[in-house]
């Protein structure tokens, strides 16, 4: 039997050096042992490690560094067994279901959990009234004090503190971390007034109508309770919970105080003027959110009103707001809107001179995972929303109305038409304005072929030019 002596329970470097020597010497796991602070003992002289290096995978070393912090005595042996087996099974660490590997992974997980719980459950107490320095007493489930101390240093860099544990004490002086040997609980600091506030908070934030103690205990195991000031309240809170809940239910409703009635009278009643004809474009904008003419309001954020001068000669009607328009409440601000702006500018038309709106004012979409994909509004929705569009036309009285795409054409003309058949030529509309149908800019965005896209864009700009001429009254 060979026995390697380790300087401490967490002496990873010592274990690593010893294990390397043992493996090089060909000592199988059942002939190797590790002892903390004990006497090294070798049956036969081991060869020096120099010059005969072998490598262990990084995954093993990372895991070993964690596992060594586990409190179970045989961890050194488990790790040596893995190191030994790696000689013949170089891919061993990938076999997560191998008994040894699974055991090591499980221990590493417990160590990580202990470190996480230490971050959570350390409770600092001020050492002096001026709160210049803090101290905590903590009993970690595994030997994670050194591993976890840097977390506290990063978090409380401007605050001097000590964390005392039975294994090791960590000290931070606002500049550097240092460590001293572990102490017993008689060194634990005393609590202060803020701890009473904390207890008050803990008791008040608890909802007695939702008692789930098993859930609490699985996340905050009892082994930590004796160092948590708030845990002292748990038995009473649980004992009284049902009674408190009963009392709430029994008490029933009470009469509101008089100031409440006064406040309540200030709430304006919601107006129900769905069918009142809008008096202005601003009136339309204000009322769209309340529109219930179809069901699209439900999934949408808001009704998106038209935008532009009330006396614009040129009105553009799109299909419906898209994702960006729905969020911002403004028409033509998304990708299609940007393309539209560019085409308008090329056609010599100033966007601030024209009125832009949509055939349907609420965004219709289909959910794909977390994305909202545009969905064409149906004839019923277009028809329902024509009420608003007709009032916009009546109020704005544009000389020319350009329908962008099939949905808009249907809304403007009152019937379904094929865009390709009617596009680009002036159509007389019933209200005396001139109509023009062209494609929707989003159609241009969807064209996959670059040459086709360029040609379609050119034709689109040409249609806009025609609209501009019609609006100026200079059209042929």
């Amino acid at each position: 039997m060979h026995v390697v002596s380790l300087a401490s329970e967490t002496d990873f470097d010592g274990w690593r050096a010893g294990a390397r020597r043992l493996r090089l010497a060909g000592a199988p796991p059942h002939e190797a042992a590790f002892s903390v602070g004990g006497q090294a003992l070798f049956d036969a002289p081991l060869p020096a490690a120099e010059g005969q290096a072998f490598s262990a995978p990084r995954a093993f070393l990372d895991l070993a560094e964690r596992v060594i912090l586990h409190r179970k005595e045989d961890r050194f042996d488990l790790l040596y067994r893995l190191l030994w087996r790696l000689k013949d099974e170089p891919n061993l660490m990938r076999h997560e279901t191998d008994a040894d590997v699974a055991d090591a992974l499980d221990r590493a997980k417990n160590v990580s959990r202990a470190a996480h719980k230490m971050k959570a459950f350390v409770r600092f107490r001020p050492v002096d009234a001026a709160e210049t320095a803090f101290c905590a007493w903590f009993e970690p489930a595994h030997r994670v004090a050194e591993l976890t101390a840097p977390f506290f240093a990063r978090r409380f860099s401007t605050m001097a503190f000590s964390i005392l544990t039975p294994d090791l004490c960590a000290h931070w002086d606002t500049q550097a971390l240092s460590f001293t040997p572990g102490v017993d609980r008689s060194h634990a600091p005393k609590g202060d007034e803020i701890e009473v506030f904390w207890a008050t908070y803990y008791a008040s934030t608890f909802n007695p109508a939702r008692l789930k103690p098993a859930m609490m205990q699985s996340e905050m195991p009892k082994r930590y309770w004796r160092n948590l000031p708030e845990a002292r309240l748990i038995p009473d809170l649980m004992a009284q919970a049902e009674q408190r809940e009963r009392a709430m239910v029994r008490a029933g409703p009470t009469e509101p105080a008089r100031y409440a009635e006064k406040a309540l009278r200030r709430v304006p009643a919601r107006s129900a003027d769905e069918d009142r004809a809008p008096g202005s474009l601003a009136d339309i904008a204000a009322r769209l959110d309340g529109c219930r003419r179809c069901d699209l309001w439900r999934g949408a954020t808001q009704g998106v009103p038209g935008e532009g001068p009330a006396q614009a000669r040129l009105m553009f009607v799109g299909e419906q707001p898209g994702d960006q328009e729905d969020l911002s409440g403004k028409p033509f601000v998304g990708p299609a809107g940007k393309l539209f702006d560019r085409a308008l500018a090329e056609a010599g038309i100033d966007r601030s001179d024209v009125y832009v709106t949509n055939a349907v004012k609420h965004f219709k979409y289909e959910l794909r995972g977390k994305r909202r994909l545009h969905k064409t509004p149906d004839a019923g929705e277009v028809q329902a929303c024509r009420w608003w569009l007709d009032h916009e036309r009546r109020l704005a009285r544009p000389r020319v109305i350009v329908a962008l795409g099939g949905t808009a054409a249907r809304a403007v003309l009152g019937k379904a038409v094929a865009v390709t058949k009617v596009r680009g030529r002036p159509l007389a509309l019933e209200d005396g304005a001139e109509g023009l149908v062209t494609v929707h800019p989003s159609y241009l965005l969807r064209l996959p072929d670059e040459t086709a896209k360029a040609a379609a864009y050119k034709a689109f700009v040409e249609d806009l030019r025609t609209a501009g001429r019609l609006a100026r009254g200079t059209a042929a």
Partner: protein, 413 residues
């Protein structure tokens, strides 16, 4: 009336805030206090510093600035017509309390909300003052969650995101119609618009790949919302559908479900009964299926009756029982997406299966080590040396499976 002590105020204003379920402190930018003048860090993973006997974690100091409120939302303990005791913190009191708690390692930060006093803007400004003081006067680098007052002006919404890690506006009730009747001063449209505005801000501040200069930080932990379950008549399918729309529309990090719970001095308009905790639990599971398991909202209700999730069954298992045509799946071959749909396999188990099967063929012994209960998954998978045969299609399969440990929901009387 004697002035209330700070401790009394804390008791009142913590009690008033506890019906908001959110307590997350995760997923924000990574930072620490090194090189700063103050304290505080956030390192990705949230930390729950304590658990109360209701099984909820205490991660943040969750309080209201005041529980005075001019609104009269029937479901809320702080509505104007309720006779609960009222209190109000000063900005400095909240700042000092947050720092005192943080120094002692009780909390990850602050979650501050408020009743509406004077006006929405006045209230929102006060909330922002607290966050601003923590950040600018004290260089506090811990977590801050601010409640948005949806009716407040857009400039304030913008400002809040400069100091807060997370913003949230509560949608409150699954049905907009019920909000109109239970919360006369609130408007679901206004709440949606506020969330939409935050979404646009978040997008705007997200650093693009080609950006040379990083845009200023804006609510790095995103936004969330909460729905009260069991106060109106909405079905589970309506609730989950609503959540899907909220996730899709506003890029929410989380939708919280809060089982409507008896409150002191309840309104006569709402049921005073045991909170539907089991239903809440099932809704969270359904929510998980959408966020991590690739389910669309509608799919979850395949086989569910009247759009309600089975209280006795994990929704993933309920779905699998209704859709046996897609099972069994071969753990050695199936795509990740198909494995995620096996009841009993979580995301971690699936990841481990996918990485391990590159090295060896997986049998039941492997699966035993890779998932919590191999008995539960056996009818739904094929593995090396295992095929469920007729087990998958057995009519009484539900009875053959090991029973899920049922959290017992006690009756009140």
């Amino acid at each position: 009336m004697a002035a209330k002590s700070l401790k009394e105020k804390l008791a009142i204003l913590a009690d008033a805030a506890k019906y908001d379920a959110s307590c997350a402190s995760s997923g924000t930018s990574r930072r620490d206090s090194l090189g700063g003048k103050g304290i505080g860090s956030t390192e990705g993973m949230g930390i729950c510093h304590a658990y109360t006997p209701d099984g909820r974690c205490v991660s943040l100091l969750k309080i209201l600035l005041t529980n005075f409120c001019v609104y009269d939302c029937a479901y809320c303990v702080n509505r104007v017509s309720s006779n609960v005791e009222r209190a109000r913190f000063s900005v400095k009191e909240v700042v000092d309390l947050t720092l005192a708690f943080y120094r002692r390692n009780y909390i990850e930060g602050l979650f501050l909300s408020s009743g509406i006093i004077r006006s929405s803007d006045y209230t929102m400004e006060a909330l922002i003052r607290v966050a601003k003081s923590l950040r600018l006067d004290h260089d506090f680098r811990g977590y801050i969650h601010l409640k948005l007052i949806p009716e407040a002006s857009p400039d304030l919404v913008t400002e809040a995101g400069l100091y807060a890690d997370r913003l949230s506006a509560n949608i409150e009730l699954p049905r907009e119609e019920s909000l109109a009747s239970f919360a006369p001063e609130k408007d679901a449209g206004v709440i949606k618009k506020a969330m939409g505005a935050v979404r646009l801000k978040l997008d705007e501040h997200r650093a693009g790949r080609g950006d040379r200069k990083r845009p200023p930080r804006y609510a790095p932990a995103g936004q969330s919302t909460q729905m009260i379950v069991g106060a109106d008549g909405a079905s589970d399918a309506e609730i989950v559908g609503r959540s899907a729309a909220l996730y899709g529309g506003y890029g929410l990090k989380r939708v919280y479900y809060s089982a409507f719970s008896p409150i002191p001095d309840a309104s006569s308009r709402l049921p005073v009964s045991k909170p539907p905790l089991m239903r809440e639990h099932r809704l969270y599971q359904a929510d998980w299926l959408m966020r991590f398991y690739g389910f669309e909202a509608g799919e979850i209700f395949e086989g569910a009756e009247d759009g309600m999730l089975d209280l006795a069954l994990d929704p993933k298992l309920a779905w699998a029982l209704a859709r046996r045509d897609v099972f069994p799946v071969d753990v050695n071959r199936a795509e990740r997406g198909a494995l995620l749909r096996v009841p009993g396999l979580g995301v971690k188990s699936v990841n481990r299966i996918v990485s391990l099967r590159r090295w060896k063929r997986l049998g039941l012994d492997d699966l035993k080590r890779l998932c919590r209960s191999v008995e539960k998954i056996k009818p739904f998978v094929v593995a090396d040396g295992w095929s469920p045969g007729g087990l998958t299609d057995r009519v009484d399969l539900k009875g053959v499976l090991p029973p899920e440990p049922q959290p017992v929901q006690l009756s009140l009387f």
